[in-house]
Point group: C4
Chain length 228, copies 4
């Protein structure tokens, strides 16, 4: 658990370092699948005052196992995603500027180029609006459910992020570090797409064969990017 707490702590500290959060508007978690335990940032604690010991440890039903603070108010969303997708090791939520703008616009972030296709195999979908009942009920749990509904049968590691309508982005990965990496990509891709659509509103989606080439170059069985 010490290692996982350290990883989650460092991943949380990376959020302001990459310019993804203002104040406390973001959180990172990670899961230890063996022990069935999740580590997450405490709610409303300032990033620069935060220490490893402030991290909260829960089981996947949300019972606190270790930690002196209340967990992030978005905890139920994280847990729902961990329960549904065994391949997820880390999850991030932020209100990063451009991804949040797309969420407010209510549109999926279109796959327009290789920067996008190096990480996401298709558009980054925007969820439907939650109903009044869903919001007034178990809101954070229902946020997790609508993300799952939106991903449908897709492999979550082939589309490692979603934007929640009128809210903001959730991203994930094989661990906390990877999840933050994907959150940075999601924000940068959202920013480039905004500018590109402004330059040419009639632009086209990336050619499917170019998207596949780039995604597979980094993530396929014969990946040639990076070092073996």
């Amino acid at each position: 658990m010490i290692t996982l707490k350290q990883q989650v702590f460092e991943a949380n500290k990376d959020l302001p370092r990459y310019g993804l959060v203002t104040f406390t508007w973001g959180n990172v978690s990670a899961i230890d699948r063996h022990q069935g335990l999740v580590v997450i940032k405490p709610s409303g604690v300032a990033y620069d005052a935060m220490t490893v010991d402030d991290m909260v440890v829960l089981d996947t039903e949300g019972n606190i196992v270790d930690g002196k603070w209340r967990p992030s108010s978005d905890t139920a969303t994280h847990l729902e995603l961990y329960r549904r997708y065994p391949s997820l090791g880390g999850i991030v939520h932020t209100h990063s500027t451009h991804a949040t703008a797309w969420a407010q616009a209510g549109l999926s972030i279109p796959a327009l180029g290789t920067t996008h296709a190096d990480y996401f195999l298709g558009n980054i979908p925007c969820t439907r609006a939650l109903t009044q009942q869903e919001v007034e009920g178990e809101y954070e749990l229902n946020t997790g459910k609508v993300i799952i509904e939106t991903l449908a049968e897709q492999n979550p590691l082939h589309n490692p992020g979603v934007i929640v309508y009128q809210h903001g982005p959730f991203a994930w990965g094989k661990d906390a570090h990877d999840a933050v990496h994907n959150a940075v990509v999601l924000e940068e891709v959202a920013r480039i797409a905004w500018i590109a659509c402004g330059i040419n509103p009639g632009l086209r989606h990336i050619e499917p064969y170019l998207m596949k080439k780039h995604f597979m170059r980094k993530h396929g069985p014969d990946a040639c990017y990076g070092q073996k």
Copy 2:
């Protein structure tokens, strides 16, 4: 007074730190309701040369009680707001880029997402234009009056900021630190709304039930955000 001067000094220094001001284009004040005294930044003094002792202390009618400098030229606006709203403890004025752009556009900043709704329970209103008489008369006092006219019967802590037409934002809070916090939020929310409206000019306001959920999660009697 020493504590309040220190608080106002630090809150003023936070303005350039958060990227809200160019040169001396901003000011923060705070009030001690017990003593009926207001502390405010001196006029036209550079942020990096400013010390605690440069802060100016006034009574709520604007008479200088302590300090070697003239107070901010916007002092009469601050005082009018303190007189009208007993719940205000701190006030900030800046020319932060995106909030000022909305003020120049003459439009209220629409409530489009949860980032907005975490702090503002509704649109951030833009005042009407001041008349020639109002500008040529007691301009700064009249700026305070038009802000009050714009807020009407709203709780100022439920809408902790307004943009003044063709001018820029005023924000406030329960103390100087809180006021600066809300000024940062106002600027970020203005920026996201600009981008979102550019992406989808036909976007919708946030659902009222989602706005209420988020505002109350942070500010309601049963707030679950942060630590008790």
Copy 3:
């Protein structure tokens, strides 16, 4: 001269500090009216390698009086402005992003708010295109002439900057430091105006009485901004 060289050196170093220049794309000069001497940045010297001794001293006809380098390639523009306007003490040229974008758009930067009116009493005009003859002849001198033609009978200290069509901004002031200050304002005002026009293409110019109020509050005979 030592003092003026120091001032011009420091003002040039301020350009990258304020984010106004990429590489060597900018220059500041100042004039000693008593001695009739102008100090200007050398051409194409990197800002971080530059020292006070690299500054070039010229008379107002452009003859080098002191210095080991060639002066800025824009020197003839600076000199023409000093000759025409006795009130100018310092001049700046940059390719700052947003002011340059307005120059490329070929439009004057409209006076839309008090941020603008605190420094510029009216739109920031864009010059006409230079003719082929003017460009192929004494180009830099003709750039100075077209700036003068654009200002016409206006007081240059009431409109301390102009954008040159398809080129970029020139700004000035009572000394080198003041000129850089106005160049920073010009860039920020250009940025806000771009965003404001994007939010509401039908926005209105600032009310003339509000513009006058703000300009005079800072620059009029009864200025109340800052310390006496």
Copy 4:
């Protein structure tokens, strides 16, 4: 080779310093024409962990001569350009934000002002889309070929960069340092053009005589910019 490895290493480190890359999204190479050897960044190695010894040395056919890592996945593109253009000494590829947005928009970056014309003698062209066959075959080699097809008979040092459709910018120069310089210019020019086109969609290209004047002032036989 030690000198060239050092130069390529430093030029690669400049990419994050100038804000041109996120993570490992970029690479710089340089060529020693005498020895016929190319030095390039290794694939997927983080910029802050990279050392001079991580650089990879290849011959112009792509055979590794020295180095412990796999070369950048874009190596075949670099080599094709070196083989075709004897004047090139260094090449850069990035996914810099605004240049990538133009690539996604599928439009050449129009020559709109002197900032552009100081470095590029004409529009910065966008390549055609690669066909499915070209992408599924020798993709990186074909990327080099389509850049060459796009430049056609132009002098590559008179148009030291191109944007590849739905991908991003390639820039070059007489050495690695110069190539990075041009990549910075390309990104800044792309950003200004985006803003300028937003301000005035009906804006005009730079007058040909003004473009020529500026390009020749810096690059012509009688260049008067900088120090001899």
